[in-house]
Amino acid sequence: MPTLQSLAAVHSTIVLDRTELAPGISSSSGPVVLLGFDAPELVRVTRPGQFVMAIPPGGERASTALGIYEAQGNRASIMFFVCGPRTRELATLRAGDRLDFTGPLGNGFDLSGEPRDVAIVAGGVGIASVLLPAQALVRAGAMVRLYYGARTESLLVDKAKFAAAGCDVLCATDDGSFGHHGFITELLAKAPRTPDVVLACGPSPMLRAVARVAHDLGAGAQLSLEETFACGVGGCWGCTVPLDRASSQAPRFPGADAGGSDVVNARICKEGPVFWAHELRW
């Protein structure tokens, strides 16, 4: 992935809008909330696939990683699934409230190959990290097909926005309430043509399936990985994934010859969050 010289900063912004995109199901599976905020500087420097570390307003909880969903003009947005204390606290924010965060962080998707035919696979709130790449690719004239999977129809949030952005949208739900009844990767496997590249963001099991399917299709896959973060900036080594030492993203580390190893644990927040599937050793 393109390693960006950091344009990150602490941003203190004002919430512009709050929308509940999906209702809550249980306390550990709350609503999906969209927060738009005034952050022209962030919009200016954000690359597709980057994230922010949002600081929960109470000032008592660790900041939490959230993908940058929209970025246009003065407004950027985050979209999150309320599943624990930090997202619950962020969900209390209303228009006019203050939202602080650091970002943009991480390296985004690698679109430098100027792919003409791209398959984007999103699972659940993974959708939050793929709107910007989809828009950028369409703008660049690529044909983009979104494979979008979720537990149930109500969690297939904002699909219209992707159609409007010029994507061809295919959906799947675990319960069959909308689109294909089953896993979204089953649709990807039936792709009419082999895409130039597959971009994916979602839960690990889905990403592993994407890696398999893309390999079978003979396409390269860029996966945006999820892991619990602490610092989000490469300072704590808490968010690693095993990577081939030969990868351009692998942190510099001694090889077996020098007592090291040829598999290196790379920081998802710093070297990632996007990695080439074939370079992962997970």
Binding site: G59, E60, G235, G238, C239, T240, R252, P254, G260
Partner: protein
């Protein structure tokens, strides 16, 4: 003019705030958010003799008022570290303190000697208490004799300021502190993380790849404040208090308990602006009370400490 500088043995810090080992990379990672010239210093991630891949993931779990970590000391080993990384620390605008971990007395002596020899490194902290490494790594800090031996070895390996980091996972931390002081430590870091674990009730398995981990954050603050309070009564060398410091009130609890400096780790994950905020508010606090130096409050809520140290006309 308020004086926030502190001395830990021969180590002079412009500000009393260090960034906890393993929490702040080498400072560079936080440079986009913080003026490093105002944070006091960074304690680097612990380095070992041989390279270490670290623990399997998950390495982090958030818990009530804190978090568990089990990184497993991932690092490239001292050779590679000296060759590729240390030179970069030269241009940091703050004090850089190395951190050494190991699995034998000799490891500590060897790694400390090699690291401390470098001009980029102002002082060395030995992490004899990292609770994340299954085997021997931990026991050093849990046994007075082992602590004495390892500190003596590290002391013999360098003339630079030597900070010994103590573990709270012991029956009597004061006795360990006395051994470390007797063995030649210039300062003590109190405390490292508290051992703990969390279980995934859906998957019926430990939430950390390493099963157990180290608890940090506000949840452990009362444990840390007491540890500083007890150690301060047991030794005369300065203490770097740490464990859940998130606000200026938190920091003040440590100074009043007897710490000469503090270290901030997990709070940087809450908000990277915390260290600067604390420095600014400490200045206000002293000003409001007409005090001129942090030394005027160190140990002031710790009678035994204050008397012992006043006897030497030294309040720090």
């Amino acid at each position: 003019m308020i004086d926030l500088s502190v001395k830990l043995g021969d180590l002079e810090l412009a500000y009393p705030t260090l960034m906890g080992s393993g929490c702040y990379g080498s400072g560079e990672e936080f440079a986009p958010f913080v003026d490093l010239a105002r944070i006091g210093g960074v304690v680097l991630k612990s380095v070992t003799r041989a390279p270490r891949l670290g623990n399997p993931t998950p390495r982090l779990v958030s818990t009530a008022g804190g978090m568990l970590n089990a990184i497993g000391l991932q690092n490239p080993g001292i050779d590679w570290y000296l060759e590729h990384d240390v030179a970069k620390f030269a241009d940091r605008p703050c004090t850089i303190i190395g951190s050494v971990a190991g699995f034998s007395v000799d490891d500590y002596a060897y790694t400390t000697q090699r690291l401390a020899a470098r001009p980029e490194i102002a002082a060395v902290e030995i992490n004899i208490s990292c609770p994340n490494v299954a085997a021997e790594g931990e026991t050093f800090a849990c046994d007075p004799n082992l602590t004495g031996r390892v500190v003596r070895a590290a002391r013999g390996a360098t003339g630079k300021p030597l900070i010994v980091k103590l573990s709270p996972n012991v029956t009597d931390i004061a006795s360990i502190a006395r051994e470390a002081e007797a063995a030649g430590a210039d300062a003590l870091a109190v405390i490292n993380t508290v051992r703990g674990m969390a279980i995934d009730v859906d998957r019926w398995q430990p939430r950390l790849g390493n099963v157990t981990g180290g608890l940090s954050g506000p949840a452990i603050r009362p444990i840390a404040v007491l540890a500083v309070y007890e150690v301060a009564r047991a030794v005369k060398i300065p203490i770097v208090g740490q464990g859940g410091i998130e606000t200026t009130t938190d920091a003040l609890e440590f100074f009043l308990a007897g710490a000469s400096a503090i270290s901030i780790g997990t709070a940087n994950f809450t908000d990277p602006r915390v260290p600067i905020r604390i420095v600014d508010e400490l200045r206000e606090y002293l000003t409001k009370r007409g005090l001129r130096s942090l030394r005027d409050i160190v140990g002031k809520a710790n009678l035994g400490f204050a008397t012992a140290h006043q006897y030497e006309g030294d309040e720090g």
